[in-house]
């Protein structure tokens, strides 16, 4: 700083010169420059996330209808009506079923995928790239392959099942409530496993090899090594990835929308699809917002956990 100041010891003559110098000195100050440079991002975050976020909460307390300017404040009416609505209750149960089941499977299979990839020495790059594919491809497009695979007439999965002698005849994958839920969960798991697998692989390769050697000397079994060496070492990343996946899965829209539109008989409706149907297709912005806002307490809890986890890693 002193070097910079001394080079400016003479007062500039022109007004423009003084303005320039004033700014120059200001911008050398970390605090001023720091705040100045975050203004654009704060504008973006407040106008497109913060403001809409509070709007969503506000709308949920009104009877606002899409395309109409006038609306009334109705307090908690939307929430009370939703609590009595069997479709909404079903949707909440579906969302939890969908999220918990899918995340558990993604976690389990993701660990398996990471452990497998960690052992591979030949064709490592190409295998990794191939396994990552479901995560990379736009999900709305890859889901199209799954609709075709779940087709009631020409399902290839039914063909495999028949070859194995599990079933006889046709299976209404997307026409039966229980099967439809399993189907949308399968697609979500299929898409999410590579994300878990790759993130956990990145965590696995950082585990120091001496720890395993020490465990071997102590006579630990393969399972004990996993339980007492591997798992604690990858725990921070495992937590972050799992919590992130919880949020993503809870707010999932396109997999269900494209596969079943929430049917049959609302058996696969998630918060997101029901909110879309109500607010956009049904124009009931107030009720739709209330449906979406229902996710809020869970999101806040998960985000708080997530941030704590990230800070601990610091």
């Amino acid at each position: 700083m002193s070097v910079l100041q001394s080079s400016f010891s003479t007062q500039p003559a022109t007004l423009w010169g003084r303005v320039k110098r004033w700014w120059f000195v200001r911008l050398e100050d970390e605090t001023t420059l720091g705040y100045l440079l975050v203004i654009p991002i704060l504008v973006v975050v407040f106008s497109f996330v913060g403001y809409p976020f509070f709007m969503a909460v506000f709308f949920s307390l009104t009877d606002r209808v899409l395309g109409q300017v006038e609306y009334n404040f109705v307090g908690l009416t939307n929430y009370i009506n939703l609590a009595k609505d069997p479709v909404f209750r079903k949707t909440v149960v579906n969302t939890f079923n969908y999220t918990v089941t899918a995340v558990i499977f993604k976690l389990g299979l993701g660990i398996l995928m990471a452990l497998t990839l960690n052992e591979i020495t030949r064709f490592r790059r190409i295998i990794r790239a191939a396994f990552l594919l479901p995560w990379v491809v736009p999900s709305s497009l890859s889901v199209l392959a799954w609709i075709w695979m779940f087709d009631s007439q020409f399902s290839i999965i039914t063909y495999f099942a028949r070859q194995l002698g599990i079933v006889d005849g046709k299976i209404p994958w997307l026409g039966d409530p229980a099967l439809a839920m399993a189907a949308v969960q399968t697609v979500n798991i299929w898409r999410g496993v590579p994300f878990f697998g790759m993130a956990l692989l990145a965590a696995l390769v950082t585990v120091p090899k001496d720890l395993y050697d020490a465990a071997t000397v102590d006579g630990a079994s393969a399972f004990q090594k996993f339980r007492y060496v591997t798992l604690p070492s990858i725990m921070p990343i495992l937590m972050v990835v799992t919590l992130f996946s919880f949020i993503q899965t809870m707010g999932d829209f396109q997999i269900v929308w494209i596969l079943t539109k929430g049917g049959p008989i609302n058996s696969t409706h998630l918060i997101a699809t029901l909110a879309f149907r109500t607010a956009i297709q049904g124009s009931n912005v107030g009720v739709g917002a209330a449906i979406a806002v229902f996710l809020l307490p869970f999101l806040v809890a998960i985000i708080a956990l997530q941030l704590r986890q990230l800070r601990r890693g610091e």
Binding site: L4, F48, I127, R128, V136, S142
Partner: protein, 295 residues
Amino acid sequence: MAAVASATPRRSIKETLYHFKIVKRAAIILSVLFFGFTMLFPFFWMGLTSIRTGNDLFKIAKTPFAVHGVTLQHYYLLLTETKFIRWMFNSLFVASTASVMALIVGIIAAYSFGRLRYRGGAAIALLVFSTYLIPPVLLFIPLNVVVNTLKLSNNLWSLILTYQTFMVPFIAWMLAGYFKSIPAELVDAARIDGASRIKAMLVIDLPLILPGVISVFFFAFTLAWNEYLYAFTFIRSSSKLPVAVGVVNALQVGDVYFWGQLMAGAILGSVPVVIIYSFLMDYYLAGLTAGAVKG
């Protein structure tokens, strides 16, 4: 070690170890085959469906893998009879414009978060990052009203603006890590030579993190390319859809699905992101955990 193991009473241990290795190898191979099949079969099926004649398509119940005629007709019809090329250009325009905008905002914020120390800096960074965790479900209803108010409904700019919500925090977070990784001595040296902070950022920091900037740009690009909910909500007319929505919307008329064209569209629509990942996979994998480990 070998001498001990070959002594008669220990022989069984050596054998057990040998068997264990074989079992382990077999388990790994089995696992690779399992994941290879489950992860890739839908793509194989997509590809096969897209090059078969319509006749083969509906013989699946008996002979699912028999191909009697290979045809590119589905691709031809997709490119000539639908607005597919238009959708691709829409996606290209939206994804690249939105990424450039987000990159400008993101880089300067990342510099502030990663390089400068000031009161409240860490708190602001945390606030910005937490917005990345808010899923679109919570925002699409009010954003739809915002878009209508701005008279941007059914306009690609509605997507460019709303995509900033997830791109900007993502970019700022990733690049803040890159800025932090530059040794302070380099920048100090430049500053002693009389460079201002801004000049040091442009001349020293930015060239050093250029690989990071490029890879983050492409990841932001893929986020925009793959987005569905906002595009599905804000865009009405078919000619303005991005490819991730267009293929799904237009090729399913009532209950009739044009399978061959749908699969061809799904494949061609995925090509740009697959190319990006095939080049930048290592950056992506490194970035996946950078945020989790370093914070």
